[in-house]
């Protein structure tokens, strides 16, 4: 017994393939092997493996690489007249997965739908051309012209075509012809080959600071940001930070254009805020701590009384755009202090103050809209635990891949169910150390309402009673809310709804297409409650969906306008591949009402999106594409 154990250990020391494995393999081929035979075979296999490994290393050395590749090993096998192993040529690391109970480890090998792949039109075109570039690294052996050991920032030099494209696009966007601009923006939004130009565009956009006197140019640049953000083929990476700072500039800075009261910089700020939230929701995961940074800078502006009111306005709409949680954490605690200042402005009826007062009213309106939604969402979130019981089983069947479709508006996804699974939402909970809202404790809803009521008085109260549609959203009416929530939660039982892009429709009123400030617009309440009703009843949602698409197209294709399916969430979004890596069959992504025939047009539209995996630039060398069929 002891000796056999020793032998066993010995064998393991010298061999990596155990007899058990050999036996398993033999079994799978339908052969029974004795212990001794398996042992001998195992030893021989190990020897051959080691031999092949040793000879494969010379292919690595001669290729002047440090990393041994599968290709090297295959060459060694081929030269020793052994069949090469196919299917492992991808340059990315292959993740090993384990099955706990079987002690089985395997490489995940998903099936690939060749038809989809073949018909996909967005297969990344080959990377830039191989080229030689020379630079003088060391002059006279000492003075090096560039800092040592750094990586060139833009390795891909531009080809002539790209350069031309870049010039034409920037000229079109910043030029006079609105039609041309539209075309350029549209192309920027859908072109799959402009990855190399990204740094250049980001640079152009960072020029916002130099055109702060020209609202038109600022607007165009913001549209450019939008197009870039919406381009599904671009991996923004760390450029997100740069884009965000440009957008923040438009939101917060007292622009030169704001001096003239005739300039409608408010719309620009609204639009920028909208854009900010869009960037954050779609690309926030690319830069860690982005949420905190944004909140911090908004808070800083808000708490700085020296700043002009237009900056404050920007901070408020920015917070509003980031969601009710942001409002609750930053705006609400600051409100008492801020109110005093605002009140002073509003109470000054002198002529000289007229302009400032008008600005003050804008801020007032913005705050009102923000806190209104805060209260509504808070009420809704309070109602959820009650409803949790009913949706618990739904959640469990969905597993971790399906995210709840809920919580319309700009708030983070509902915390009780999915918070833990969400990277972005967890920013809210687990803030970086030293953040001022670390010690923040939620204020109970009634207390919040009464405090806000003390500021706004009836102008707040009236907003909760005049909403049309079904829902009668009294601040505290959990039972009603929970009732109306039932339906959508049923809709979410669709197992394949991936994480939904936040619905931005509540912000319709501050979209740049509409005139006037948000607070002046009486449709605010209606719009938001329309939005609410959209989620509660699939019928009534169409109008707002349509509107939202107009203002801010989120998906590359939108649900058909003719049919009732409403919960047709994008499948081309960036979130899609983030967690579950793979493509999921798009058919199931569609409408909860399975009986509904899918219009063929929508179907064909979807095809291009199929080949897509999470982050195109980083992932495109992935093995999926090694099967790429030349068409």
């Amino acid at each position: 017994m002891h000796t056999s154990l020793m032998a066993d250990r010995e064998e393991r020391r010298f061999a990596e393939v155990s007899r058990e494995s050999i036996k398993l393999m033999a079994e799978s081929a339908g052969v029974e092997l004795g212990d001794d035979v398996a042992g001998l075979l195992a030893e021989d296999v190990c020897y051959r493996l080691r031999e092949a490994t040793q000879s494969s290393s010379q292919f690595m050395r001669h290729a002047k690489r440090r990393k041994l590749t599968v290709e090297d090993f295959n060459r060694a096998l081929r030269w020793s007249n052994v069949e090469a192993i196919c299917g492992y040529g991808a340059q990315d690391a292959l993740p090993f997965r384990s099955v706990k109970d079987g002690e089985l480890y395997f490489v995940e090998d998903r099936e690939i739908n060749l038809v989809e792949l073949a018909l996909a039109t967005n297969i990344p075109k080959g990377c830039a051309e191989t080229m030689v570039r020379v630079n003088v690294s060391y002059l006279d052996g000492k003075g090096n012209l560039e800092p040592q050991g750094t990586v060139p920032s833009a390795v891909q030099s531009l080809s002539d075509d790209l350069l031309k494209y870049y010039q034409q696009i920037t000229r079109a966007i910043l030029g006079e012809d609105p039609h041309l601009m539209k075309v350029a923006l549209l192309d920027l939004q859908s072109n799959s080959k402009i990855a190399a130009l990204l740094p250049y565009f980001v640079y152009v956009i960072s020029g916002v600071k130099s055109v702060s006197h020209d609202l038109e140019q600022l607007n165009r640049l913001l549209h450019m940001v939008k197009s870039l953000v919406q381009n599904p083929y671009l991996y923004l990476g760390s450029y997100v930070r740069s884009l965000v700072s440009s957008v923040m500039y438009c939101i917060l800075e007292p622009l030169a254009a704001s001096i003239n009261p005739l300039n409608d910089h408010w719309t620009l700020r609204d639009y920028a805020a909208l854009l900010l939230s869009h960037i954050f929701w779609t690309h926030g995961d690319l830069v860690s701590g982005l949420y905190h940074q944004i909140l911090l800078s908004l808070q800083k502006v808000l708490s700085d009384p020296v700043r002009p009111l237009c900056s404050h306005y920007g901070a408020v709409v920015g917070l509003h755009a980031l969601g009710w949680k942001a409002v609750e954490r930053v705006l609400f605690p600051h409100l008492p202090a801020y109110w005093a200042n605002l009140q002073a402005v509003l109470d000054d009826y002198s002529v000289s103050n007229a302009q400032v007062k008008a600005d003050g009213h804008k801020v007032y309106g913005a705050i009102l809209v923000a806190v209104e939604r805060l209260l509504k969402m808070k009420a809704l979130s309070l109602s959820q635990p009650v409803e949790g019981g009913s949706s618990a089983q739904v959640g469990s069947t969905m597993g971790s891949t399906g995210y709840r479709v809920s919580s319309p508006g700009l708030s983070p996804p509902p915390e009780p169910l999915t918070e833990a699974a969400l990277g972005i939402a967890s920013h809210l909970q687990a803030g970086g150390s030293g953040c001022p809202w670390e010690e923040w404790t939620p204020v109970p809803l009634p207390a919040m309402y009464s405090e806000l009521y003390s500021f706004f008085g009836d102008s707040l109260a009236v907003r909760f009673s005049t909403g049309p549609g079904k829902g009668n959203y009294a601040p505290c009416n959990p039972s009603q809310v929970s009732n109306s929530r039932k339906e959508p939660s049923g809709a979410t039982s669709n197992p394949d709804t991936t994480r939904k892009m936040p619905q931005l429709t509540a912000n319709l009123n501050i979209s740049p297409r509409q005139d006037g400030s948000p607070r002046m617009d009486p449709s605010v309440a209606r719009a938001s409650s329309v939005q609410r009703s959209r989620s509660s009843s699939s019928r009534s949602g169409q109008r707002s969906t349509g509107l939202s698409r107009d203002v801010f197209p989120k998906a590359r294709f939108t649900p058909p306008q003719t049919g009732p399916p409403v919960f047709s969430f994008l499948i081309g979004g960036r979130q899609m591949g983030r967690r579950c890596q793979g493509r999921r069959p798009f058919q199931t992504t569609f409408a909860p009402s399975a009986s509904l025939p899918i219009p063929p047009r929508a179907y064909t539209h979807k095809l291009p999106v199929i080949g897509r995996v999470g982050k195109p630039v980083r992932r495109w060398t992935c093995s999926h594409y090694s099967l790429h069929l030349p068409l």
Binding site: E10, F14, E43, D44, C46, Y47, R50, E51, Q54, Q58, F59, R61, H62, A63, K64, R65, R66, E71, R75, W79, C127, A128, E129, T130, M131, V132, R133, V134, N135, V136, S137, Y138, L139, D140, G141, K142, N144, Q148, G149, T150, V151, P152, V155, Q156, S157
Partner: protein
């Protein structure tokens, strides 16, 4: 005496050709080729017995030279066997040709097996003929071992291994070994280092004997117990060894066959050797004594035993050190006389334009030429030692350009370091495996793992193809600018891609006249590309395994290649078969370089030795040991006197070719050195490595040493550890391994590598 060498090699080729003609080269068929000479050799065994019984073909340095008679007889037998094989396969024409070339009488085959001395008489006359013939008509295999080296000609495995069959008690192996170990540990300090050299070869052979005789567990235990004692630089070999635990695995393991077929060479002083011998005889330790007798070659010298440092500097190769006499042959390392070139008139005009240059320039040039032409370097080979191609007009122009540039050359030195330009290959996702630059630095070529070769022009002048044949007919051939007119302007581009290989391109080399490009690949071929038409001209097949490196001779026409089959080959561009085969390395040849005078080639191998071969007769004239890893970079100094080598161990070693001695060690790199280059005037040595640095070394100082007669005679070197003093600078790249270095004619250093983000 040369005859057998020559003819057997030819027979070898014909044999191969026959095999190719026969279609599938079946292993069985091959065996018949091999086994017959063996069978025939039995009649010849007396000759073989005259030598050490184990000195099988291919061992060490050309035994044929030492034992001409035996070699001749053996080769005669081989030849006869080949002839017989050919006849059996009805290749009568080949038989006829071979017979005629070998100078064998017509009836030689019939009296095969009879008295072979009769046939040997054909020798002298053939000898005279071959000597008279041109270089190209003579084909020799370097070491007279005809049947070794190429993979298909490996010595019969059974014969090789059977030497292990005699055995003592396996249980006593450990006792023997530890007994010897104890003894060596107790001898005087001065002897201990020398005697410790015995450990490694003894250990390996004892282990293999145990394995061969199926004492698997004993072998494992033996390995376990003593492998830790071995020098760290044998780690790689030990790793191979430890995976080998079955007799069945011993067949086909090349490392093992190498170890077995070649004697491990040790240099030991007479005193130490006597000590060891006396000990073993006293103990009646026959087991160990037998191994030492049979598998080790002990090169005994008189005088003081060497120190540990001296031994470590020279050891590390797969088969021990080089024998002293291996490095005694005369090497003509001097440079060939530069051809006298009349300065054409237009050149004068040009100088007239260049006013300030006029008075000065002319003189140094004349001096330069004069000094070169007058002084006949005693160490230089004669101008006609090997036939070199005639200079074309364009070559002369290029030489003039070169001289002009040389006058503008920067004198480098420790206080005047070169500027470095880095050529980065961007987006080279397909894997950059080799780079070369033309001598005038106008073209750069890259070999890639995706089998392509890409050529770029690094000057504003674009690359153009020659027009098609039809278009060429249209042009006026009398016009002055006909050379310009034949180029197709439409094809002008910055780079061209050459498709043809079916495996990664590991070696690449421009011809000196920039008309051709050579590339060697994993697919076993070397291809010659025209840089006029950008098409493949020839595919040289000969290496049947990956060809790791190739290089053009500095005078063009010839090129050398080496690869996995352990044979370096010398080719001429207009011959589809090699002119010379240099065999002797015990593992892959990893890099090959031509001596500046084209009379020698040097090869580096993964057996961790460097060998210098004479192009004229194919002899191995130098064996340099001391590297502890496969050699990946070699460079001759421009004056031809010195050689620098770099290996995976991150060290650069410097060698004096004339004396056959290691003269320096440059430590500093932390990863494999892939490139070495001397500045144009030999003042600076640049080394490029996988560790993303270029380092500059003071070559003037490194080679500034007097070799005394004693060192030259004994080969005992004293290296001083002065790497830090010699290191002039270390320059980081931008995360790019440096795989090629090049000094322009004005001494600007160019480096190249593929950027891998």
């Amino acid at each position: 005496i040369r005859l057998p060498v020559f003819s057997s090699a030819h027979a070898h080729f014909i044999c191969k050709m026959a095999a190719v003609q026969g279609g599938l080269v079946d292993a069985v068929e091959e065996k018949t080729i091999k086994s017959e000479p063996v069978a025939d050799a039995t009649a010849n065994n007396s000759a073989n017995d005259a030598r050490a019984p184990s000195s099988s073909p291919g061992s060490g340095v050309s035994p044929g030279v030492n034992k001409p008679a035996a070699g001749a007889a053996e080769d005669q037998q081989t030849l006869l066997a080949v002839l017989q094989f050919l006849r059996k396969n009805n290749l009568s024409e080949s038989v006829e040709i071979l017979r005629r070339e070998a100078g064998l009488p017509e009836d030689s085959l019939d009296q095969k097996g009879g008295d072979s001395t009769g046939t040997g008489l054909g020798g002298p006359e053939a000898d005279g003929r071959t000597d008279a013939g041109s270089l190209l008509s003579r084909v020799t295999v370097s070491s007279s071992a005809p049947s070794k080296a190429v993979a298909e000609d490996q010595p019969d495995v059974n014969v090789v291994l059977s030497a292990y069959s005699q055995q003592g008690d396996p249980a006593l192996y450990e006792v023997y070994y530890s007994g010897l170990k104890k003894f060596i540990e107790t001898v005087l300090d001065c002897h201990r280092a020398e005697l410790s050299q015995v450990f490694y070869p003894l250990f390996v052979h004892m282990y293999l004997e145990l394995v061969y005789n199926n004492h698997e567990n004993k072998a494992k235990a033996f390995f376990e117990k003593f492998s830790g004692d071995q020098e760290c630089y044998y780690q790689d070999d030990l790793r191979v060894l430890c995976s080998l635990t079955k007799k069945e695995h011993m067949r086909g393991n090349e490392t093992l066959l190498d170890f077995r077929t070649s004697k491990f060479v040790l240099r030991i002083s007479r005193d130490s050797y006597q000590l060891l011998k006396r000990h073993l005889q006293e103990r009646q330790n026959n087991q160990i004594w037998n191994i030492i007798q049979e598998h080790l070659y002990i090169d005994i010298f008189d005088g003081m035993p060497r120190s540990k440092g001296q031994i470590d500097a020279m050891s590390g190769s797969l088969a021990g050190e080089a024998k002293r006499e291996a490095n005694k042959a005369k090497v003509y390392y001097g440079l060939l006389k530069e051809p006298e070139i009349e300065l054409p008139l237009d050149d004068e005009d040009e100088e007239a334009e260049n006013e300030e240059g006029k008075p000065k320039k002319k003189k140094p040039k004349k001096d330069n030429m004069g000094s070169k032409s007058k002084k006949q370097d005693p160490n230089a080979p004669s101008q006609t030692r090997i036939p070199l191609p005639e200079l074309k007009d364009s070559d002369k122009l290029d030489k003039i350009m070169n001289m002009k540039e040389a006058t503008k050359r920067i004198r480098l030195g420790p206080d005047n370091l070169p500027s470095i330009c880095f050529y980065s290959f961007l987006n080279a996702y397909q894997g950059l495996t080799a780079v070369d630059l033309t001598d005038d630095s106008s073209l750069i070529a890259g070999g890639f793992a995706d089998s392509t070769v890409r050529v770029w022009s690094v000057t504003p002048k674009k690359l153009r193809k020659v027009k098609s044949a039809a278009d060429l007919n249209m042009i006026d051939k009398e016009s002055d600018d006909v050379l310009e007119r034949i180029m197709d302007e439409k094809t002008a581009s910055e780079s061209k891609i050459l498709y043809g290989h079916s495996g990664p391109v590991y070696g690449i080399s421009f011809s000196p006249d920039r008309n051709y490009l050579l590339s060697s690949s994993e697919d076993g071929t070397i291809r010659l590309w025209s840089l006029q038409t950008f098409t493949c001209l020839v595919g040289y097949k000969g290496h049947n395994y990956p060809v790791w490196d190739t290089q053009f001779s500095p005078h063009g026409y010839y090129f050398v290649s080496g690869g996995h089959d352990r044979v370096a080959r010398l080719w001429a561009t207009d011959h589809y078969q090699p002119l010379r085969m240099f065999s002797g390395h015990l593992a892959d040849i990893t890099c090959t370089r031509f001596h500046p005078n084209s009379n020698y080639v040097v090869t580096g191998s993964s057996d961790r030795t460097i060998r210098l071969w004479d192009v004229l007769n194919g002899n191995c004239v130098r064996i340099f040991t001391g590297h502890k890893g496969p050699i990946h970079a070699l460079a001759f100094s421009p004056n031809g006197k010195f050689l620098a080598s770099g290996a995976t161990d991150g060290r650069v070693l410097l060698w004096d070719i004339g004396h056959g001695l290691m003269v320096g060690e440059l430590k500093g790199h932390t990863d494999t050195i892939y490139s070495l280059r001397f500045s144009r005037d030999s003042e600076i040595l640049a080394s490029g490595s996988m560790d993303n640095t270029v380092r500059l070394w003071d070559a003037t100082k490194a080679f500034d040493l007097e070799t005394d007669d004693f060192t030259a005679a004994t080969g005992h070197i004293h290296l001083q550890d002065n790497s830090q003093e010699l290191l002039l600078g270390s320059y980081m790249t931008k995360s790019t391994p440096v795989i090629h270095l090049h000094f322009t004619r004005r001494n600007l250093l160019l480096a190249a590598g593929g950027y891998n983000p």
